[in-house]
């Protein structure tokens, strides 16, 4: 790549004046944000502030009542067809007793680019292997997912997003219940993703993780209150507005 840093690169994620409501209840109104490629961005807000609505909008699950979303200069539907957006669920929403092993789960990342019968071909096996090696789970690939430790479980789903080839990763509360060792591993992985110019949007309500992990932060409370460099956005006043109280 010969592009100079700071050159006119279009934002990786551009949300303009996005409004979403569910049967009359406004979940998000006039939210705007821009993220450049290779950003690790925290998404901070209370429960019900619109974090999951923003994720749903970025995945094309909800129809905005107003506003636009561009991912890589394309519509959400186009980005979805190109397997550009991956969602990494929070651990609590996964059925860990499901009869699947680690390879099965990571292979599911490839389904969107497979034929209708989802018969894995050589390049699919290779992508799965590469992703598993990257998150250091290759040796545990035969394990049933419930037999993984908390940190390994997170990494299995990160590997699925990698196998998908997604450039935008939406992570839902990835730090819930992880130990210090896993945190370090995740930090390393996230740095690697940044080098590969992937963009991470990490929903969390833990301030310490944001200051520790994220280059940028988006504060959300029914709309985007502020976004930008973590050090600039994380002010006492902004946080008070985000959490609706004085800190």
């Amino acid at each position: 790549m010969t592009t100079t840093p700071g050159a006119m690169e279009p934002p990786h994620i551009a949300v303009e004046n996005l409004s979403v409501s569910y049967v009359g209840v406004v979940a998000l109104s006039k939210a705007s944000l821009r993220l450049n490629r290779g950003t690790i961005c925290g998404l901070v807000g209370m429960n019900g502030a619109g974090k999951s609505t923003l994720f749903k909008a970025l995945m094309g699950f909800v129809r905005p009542s107003a506003g636009t979303i561009c991912i890589n200069g394309q519509s959400v539907a186009q980005a979805q067809r190109r397997q550009a957006v991956a969602y990494v669920p929070q651990a609590e929403s996964v059925d860990w007793d499901f009869p699947l092993n680690v390879t099965d789960v990571v292979m599911m990342g490839r389904y969107g680019s497979m034929g209708p019968l989802r018969n894995p071909r050589r390049r699919d096996h290779e992508a799965v292997r590469h992703s598993l090696e990257l998150v250091e789970l290759w040796d545990l690939r035969q394990r049933q997912i419930g037999e993984l430790s908390g940190g390994q479980r997170k990494r299995a789903f990160l590997a699925r997003a990698l196998a998908q080839g997604a450039s935008v990763l939406l992570l839902d509360e990835p730090f819930n219940g992880v130990d210090v060792r896993t945190e370090k591993l995740m930090a390393q992985l996230f740095m690697g993703f940044r080098r590969e110019r992937r963009t991470l949007l990490i929903s969390t309500h833990d301030m310490d993780h944001v200051t520790g992990f994220c280059d940028q932060v988006v504060l959300i409370n029914k709309t985007v209150l502020a976004y930008g460099e973590t050090s600039e956005v994380f002010t006492r006043e902004n946080l008070a507005r985000t959490f609706g109280c004085r800190l």
Partner: protein, 288 residues
């Protein structure tokens, strides 16, 4: 009596050969579907749909249509009604399910008693595998084959749909299509199962083999094979037991299925009670 004649004597009767064949086919197909039902948590839905198809079956019979057509319309229709009521009222889902399927079932009872036909209510409720009519025999085979093909072709999509529908949607798969595919298969399997064990017990065929297999293994492929094997085995063994004890075939088939489940519950290699007593069922291994 020696085991060989125990096995061979019933085969001298055409009705028994047909009964064994149809129960094995239906038992196997329903068992494969039961894997998805148990993993998706659709046991109650299976119960609802299998009861709600009754009016459809009676109407189809009266109009001379294949029973599967009526079952399909009312199976999918009942679930649509459940969804509509759930959306538009504050009544909780399990209440709505209980309310809708009994309503449909009761409507079916009225139709059975009013439609002049040779349709025997007892046969619909409790199955009539020993006296199955030729056209029902063929229909059941065709329905079973259709459901089998659908489940095999879409098995990977359906597993993903059961496991993580959010991911399925985010990579552009149509979860609505998969939902209705599974629901349609359920309606068709219910009408196939109706021929063998009847409406009341068909839910056992749609739940028990999957639950048994779920306890036996941690791999979906093995789960499918084990469920089908236990479904076929229960059907055959149940039909034989019914022959030799002159007891209800439906009852025998479902009792065998239930016994297999109890055995798996106690003796399963990893998740059986004997094993499970020693360690946690799904341990969170510490990081090395």
């Amino acid at each position: 009596m020696d085991p060989v004649s125990w096995l061979l004597e019933p085969l001298q009767h055409v009705f028994m050969v047909k009964a064994l064949l149809i129960s094995a086919v239906v038992g196997g197909v329903c068992a494969l579907l039961s894997c998805f039902m148990t993993l998706k948590g659709w046991a109650l839905m299976g119960d609802a749909v299998s009861h709600a198809v009754l009016p459809g079956v009676v109407i189809a019979y009266a109009l001379g249509l294949p029973l599967a057509v009526g079952a399909f319309v009312f199976g999918v229709g009942s679930v649509t009604v459940i969804g509509l009521i759930k959306q538009s009222t504050r009544v909780k889902e399990d209440t709505v399910i209980g309310l809708v399927f009994t309503g449909f079932f009761a409507l079916g009872l009225i139709l059975v008693s009013k439609v002049r036909s040779s349709l025997d209510l007892m046969h619909i409720l409790f199955g009539n595998v020993l006296g199955i009519r030729p056209q029902d025999f063929q229909q059941t085979l065709v329905i079973s084959a259709l459901v089998l093909v659908v489940l095999m072709v879409f098995r990977r999509d359906l597993v993903l749909f059961c496991f993580d529908p959010t991911h399925a949607r985010s990579i552009g798969m149509s979860t609505g299509f998969l939902y209705y595919l599974l629901l349609s298969s359920l309606s068709l399997a219910a009408v196939a199962g109706l021929q063998t064990v009847g409406i009341i017990l068909v839910v056992a065929m749609l739940v028990t083999p999957g639950a048994t297999a779920y306890l036996m293994t941690d791999s979906f492929g093995a789960m499918g094979v084990l469920a089908v094997a236990s479904g076929i085995l229960s059907s055959l063994l149940g039909a034989y037991l019914s022959y030799w004890s002159d007891a209800s075939p439906a009852g025998c088939i479902v009792v065998v299925q239930t016994l297999l489940f109890v055995m798996a519950m106690v003796f399963a290699p990893k998740h059986g009670l004997l094993r499970r007593g020693r360690h946690n069922p799904s341990p969170q291994w510490p990081d090395p």
